[in-house]
Each structure stands twice: as structure tokens, then as C-alpha cells.
Amino acid sequence: MTTIDGANVRKLVIACDAGMGSSAMLAGTVRKQLAAKGVTVEHTPVAQIPADADLVLTHAGLADRARGVAGDIPVVPFQLFLGDPAVTKVVAAIQQGTTVDV
């Protein structure tokens, strides 16, 4: 278990396979939710997770691949592209500057 401090997240990456579909849609939603906090939200293919990301969200089926690329960057897996509780928790922590265990 890793504790993430929402106040320290400046760049959040949503990783998927091709970056054209489901993760792109989730990125659009999260970007809107975090726009007021000035957090950069990007969506990338798993293999291209940028090294300066503070946090990676990815579908559970891709989490192992994402962890292999992300190194020390925390990877939070989710199951649902819309309304996933793990994503909701992370977004709330960033919005409120609180910590969250993932």
C-alpha cells in the first residue's frame, strides 16, 4: 500500500494500450475535474508513461505493464472507465489536498 499526498500531484497520467479510446475518455473527465487545481492530466500508451508523472492511473488489466514502465511512480489500477471508486478517491484527494492510500 502506498500513500499519496494529493497536494503533491502536479501531473497525472492515465495509461492505456493505444491512448485513443477508453483512457482518453477518462482523461477528458479527470482533466475537467482537476482543471481548477492546475494539475496536468495526460493520457499515454503504457509504454510511454513519462518519467515526470506524479501518479499513474491505469486499467487493472494493464497495471503490471504500467508498473514495469513507471518504476517508482505510484500506479493506481481501476476497473471502470466511468465512476470507478479508486479514481473517485484519487481525484477527491487531489482536489482537497488530502492523502489517500492506494
Binding site: 494500450d17 485513443m20 479510446g21 477528458g28 473527465t29 466511468l82
Partner: protein
């Protein structure tokens, strides 16, 4: 007016790519049908279709509220000729790993021009009433209207500048 931005919803989702009375025997059949519409409308080369099926095997593209958004793997991007979407409605539903899918929005994209539509789709699906209305839309015009973001809702915004252009320069 400005040509700088990617094609708008109407260019990405052409009337010919909106099919409202489809039938499919199963998930793979429905994905193939989406792929065939993307091929028929000139958006992708035929190699794109197997890449869509491959993608579905790794992670389902079911996103909730009876909607799936099939698209290819990273490898499939080479087969994209122009960024495009298709909208296939299966009134009888399609079994999607235990979920019932009524609407498949097939995606072919190398750029980001379609993201406004996807963002709008996400907003629709988070509202059960609008999601039902999308599943029950029976004309292409209605489908396109629902997926076209309202102007004030533009998620990309006019620029990245810090100050709103209230009274920028004199």
C-alpha cells in the same frame, strides 16, 4: 471558422457511419461490424479490424450504461487513414462479457480531435436519463446532436493563458 483545430464532430462522425438498426451474434461480431463501417467510410484500412479484436481481448472496451467503444491496439494505428468514429446501435442488445451492449462507438484515431466527443459521451453516460436517451436515439441527427459538445462546455478552452480574456488588450 478557424482551421487550426481538429475536425468537428460532424466530420468525425459522418451520417454514413451512424447505423441504428444493427444486429450482432456476439461481441466479436459487433466489433467486426464497427470495423467494417470504419473501412467502408474510408477511415481505416482493413487491417484495423483484427487489431480491434485483439485490443478487446486484453481489456474490454465496455464503458458502462450499455455502451462500448471498440478501437484498435497501438499497432493498429498504422491502419488509420483519417480520424473517425462510427455509431452502431444494436436494438436487441449484444452480450459483452455478461453486460448488454446497445451502442458501440467505434474509434479510429491517431490525433486527439475525437476527444471532445468522448468527453461529451462520458458526461452523457454519467447521467442515466441522458444515457437512456442516447441508447434510444433513432435518427442520425439526434445522435450527432447529443454527442456534439455545447460551446460553453468546450473542455479544451480557448487558450492556455492564465488570465481570462476579459479585457485583454486595448
Amino acid at each position: 471558422m478557424s482551421d487550426g483545430r481538429a475536425a468537428g464532430p460532424a466530420a468525425l462522425l459522418v451520417p454514413d457511419a451512424i447505423r441504428l438498426h444493427e444486429r450482432a451474434a456476439g461481441k466479436a461480431d459487433a466489433i467486426r461490424a464497427c470495423g467494417e463501417v470504419l473501412v467502408a467510410t474510408g477511415a481505416v484500412a482493413p487491417e484495423y479490424v483484427p487489431a480491434m479484436l485483439e485490443r478487446e481481448e486484453s481489456v474490454s472496451t465496455y464503458i458502462g450504461e450499455g455502451v462500448a467503444i471498440p478501437h484498435a491496439t497501438l499497432a493498429g494505428k498504422a491502419a488509420v487513414r483519417r480520424d473517425a468514429l462510427c455509431f452502431l446501435r444494436f436494438p436487441d442488445g449484444v452480450d459483452w462479457d455478461g453486460e448488454t451492449v446497445t451502442v458501440c462507438i467505434g474509434i479510429a484515431a491517431v490525433g486527439d480531435g475525437h476527444l471532445d466527443i468522448l468527453a461529451e459521451l462520458a458526461q452523457i453516460l454519467l447521467d442515466p436519463e441522458r444515457a437512456a436517451a442516447l441508447r434510444e436515439a433513432t435518427t442520425p441527427d439526434r445522435v450527432l446532436a447529443m454527442l456534439t459538445p455545447a460551446p460553453e462546455d468546450d473542455p479544451t478552452g480557448p487558450d492556455d493563458g492564465a488570465a481570462p480574456a476579459e479585457r485583454g488588450e486595448r
